[in-house]
Amino acid sequence: MELLVALMVGVLVAASVHLMLARNVLRFIFGLVLISNAANLTIFVSGRLTPESPPLIPEGATTPVADAANALPQALVLTAIVIGFGLFAFALTLVYRTYQNLGTLNSDEMRLAEPRPAKPARAIETDSKTYIARDTQS
């Protein structure tokens, strides 16, 4: 069971890295959602998977029965999911506003905060020309 979950985490991470390498910021955000789920599963599986006994303390006892499921990772995952959901909602709104304002989702075209130098020095002139050519293509 642990192996299966571990493999699933691997697949999720691979898929999310693929998404996050895209220039499209929206794809990047989707990649983030996937990878945060992978992180949640990692925490869940680090608490060891014990399918049989729920973490309940029998009446009169002070400790749960032996081999009970570990409740702590579940509490951590729950917290992480809530926080992750909030962050995702924010990130999505931010991307939408950026798209409305800048008219692009391509991260290469987002150069407002760090504009390229207006007058490139003569030595790198050829270089900057190729950059510009590449920009107009995309």
């Binding site: 599986v45 951590l76 924010f90 931010l94 991307v95 800048l102 407002l112 905060a113």
Partner: protein, 503 residues
């Protein structure tokens, strides 16, 4: 006395709620100033307590230590909280004249106070997952502050800031999960003992590197710093200043905490990586600054470069080097926030932060020129200002440790820092204003002038005091470094307090 530890977190949260309720009137900003003053007072009380007792710990909700959430303050935490109080108050006063009414109505002051609460929480917590939560509190409020106003530049910078920081958070979270799976505990003091008994030390190093990357993004070290120069120059000046002063330093604090308390099992490997990182961070930061032509963008790159010095102190891992790192942290927060505040005043009276579009400040606003020179020289490491002692201790530690190359790098980076400070000086202060303006401080309304200049002057005086009387500060940093290198007291206080709580 557990309530003392919680006050630096509760006060900003309470202030945030009040400031939010009164965000439509002028009361909101004064509530923010009062709350920040309250935070400063609480942090000083905490500091006195810590100086008296060494390490102070409290179990929240009376749950015994490895199970519940512990708040701990050793000297490093306490001094970081005090510095948060000082910069928090300075920037809150500055914001009286800097933040527009529209941003106030959108909840600027509430977000600002939540940010302070998150920063204090991160400094005071003794639980790894709780640290993650404080990081999130801090991040979410900083997201809000960064894009408040919604200018196109801000959104552009915001995208980079948000995405890269979220990746670091997820790495941090995965690291927490894996470390828990390996040791069965999340309490940092308990982890100190638990990592010694791990069967597979190789895997532990892998997790250590995960934490290094996660905190490295927050601290903006090479090669993970790209979000910082992309975003720090876009928001309101007060936001830039508090970010520059505090946010990256939380990353540095977390690195120092984890790599002195928990991940010390393979120092030869992890701290060698940190040493290389420190060197490259210093050099790339200062070279980036040399290429920039905007007041705030130069300063942003200098944050990166200065982070390298602090990491250097951690990487050398000798008592003297840690003294240097702690001293550098304190000095840097004050100086850096102050430089951003000066940049804000320059923009107000000269019209821009772009160096080619301003000038003449020395002739017509000599007071501002003086207030710039103090933190700028301190940043570059001129005696007798605070930066000189910080650099002196670190370079001495490097030489004693035989790290001649890294010491040389640190010295050369210091020289290059002077170069960019001279560039700002020459362009913004010496050369005549290109549009023929005569920027004068008297052109500001008297109220604004007081609100803008008082915090700058106070922080500059503090820099001079640290520089002229470094002895008590060095002694303090020495005690703090001793605590960091001998975590037994820290561990005993946390876990000992636990056994008392259960009785």
């Amino acid at each position: 006395m557990s309530w003392i530890l919680a006050t630096p977190i509760i006060i900003p949260f309470a202030t945030a709620v009040l400031a939010f309720l009164f965000r439509h009137g002028p009361e909101g900003r004064w509530i923010s100033v009062l709350g920040s003053a309250g935070l400063l007072i609480a942090s000083v009380i905490l500091m006195v307590e810590v100086l008296d007792q060494g390490v102070v710990a409290a179990q929240m909700g009376q749950w015994a230590a490895p199970f519940g959430i512990t708040l701990v303050a050793d000297l490093l935490s306490a001094v970081m909280v005090v510095i948060t109080g000082i910069t928090g108050l300075a920037v809150a006063i500055y914001a009286l004249a800097d933040v527009e009414e529209r941003k106030e109505q959108l909840g600027y002051h509430a977000l600002y106070q939540v940010l302070l609460a998150g920063v204090c929480g991160a400094f005071l917590t003794g639980d790894l997952f709780n640290l993650y939560v404080w990081f999130e509190v801090m991040l979410i409020s900083s997201f809000g502050l960064l894009i408040l106003g919604g200018q196109r530049q801000q959104l552009d910078g915001g995208i980079k800031y948000v995405t890269l920081n979220l990746i670091s958070t997820i790495l941090f979270l995965s690291g927490v999960g894996l470390l828990y799976g390996m040791t069965g505990t999340l309490n940092m003091a308990d982890l100190h003992g638990a990592v010694q008994e791990v069967e597979n030390p190789g895997l532990l190093v892998v997790i250590a590197v995960m934490f290094m990357i996660a905190f490295g993004v927050k601290a903006a070290v090479f090669p993970l710093f790209f979000w910082l120069p992309a975003s720090y120059h876009t928001p309101a000046i007060s936001v830039s200043a508090i970010f520059a002063g505090l946010l990256t330093k939380v990353g540095v604090y977390a690195l120092i905490r984890m790599f002195t308390l928990v991940f010390t099992t393979d120092v030869a490997y992890t701290h060698t990586i940190l040493l290389w990182v420190a060197g490259f961070t210093m050099v790339t930061g200062v070279l980036g600054a040399a290429a920039m032509n905007d007041f705030r963008r130069i300063l942003s790159f200098h944050i990166v470069s200065q982070i390298g010095y602090m990491i250097l102190g951690l990487a050398l891992f000798t008592p003297l080097a840690l003294v240097g790192a702690v001293f550098y942290l304190v000095h840097h927060i004050i100086v850096k926030a102050n430089l951003f505040l000066v940049a804000g005043v320059a923009r107000r009276i000269a019209g821009s932060t772009e160096l080619s579009q301003i000038g003449g400040l020395y002739k017509t606003a000599p007071l501002l020129a003086l207030l710039f020179l103090i933190p700028a020289f301190s940043l570059a490491g001129f005696p007798p200002l605070s930066g000189f002692w910080a650099k002196f201790v670190l370079i001495k530690a490097a030489l004693e440790d035989g790290g001649y190359v890294i010491a040389a790098v640190a010295l050369i980076v210091g020289l290059l820092t002077i170069y960019s400070m001279t560039k700002i000086w020459g362009n913004a202060f010496w050369k005549p204003h290109p549009a023929g303006l005569q920027p004068r401080l008297s052109s500001l309304p008297a109220k604004d002038r007081a609100a803008l200049l008082t915090p700058i002057a106070a922080l500059a005086i503090l820099t001079c005091i640290i520089g002229l009387f470094p002895e008590p500060f060095i002694q303090f940093a020495t005690r703090s470094a001793e605590q960091l290198l001998n975590p037994e007291i820290y561990v005993q206080t946390v876990l000992g307090a636990a056994s008392e709580a259960t009785q």
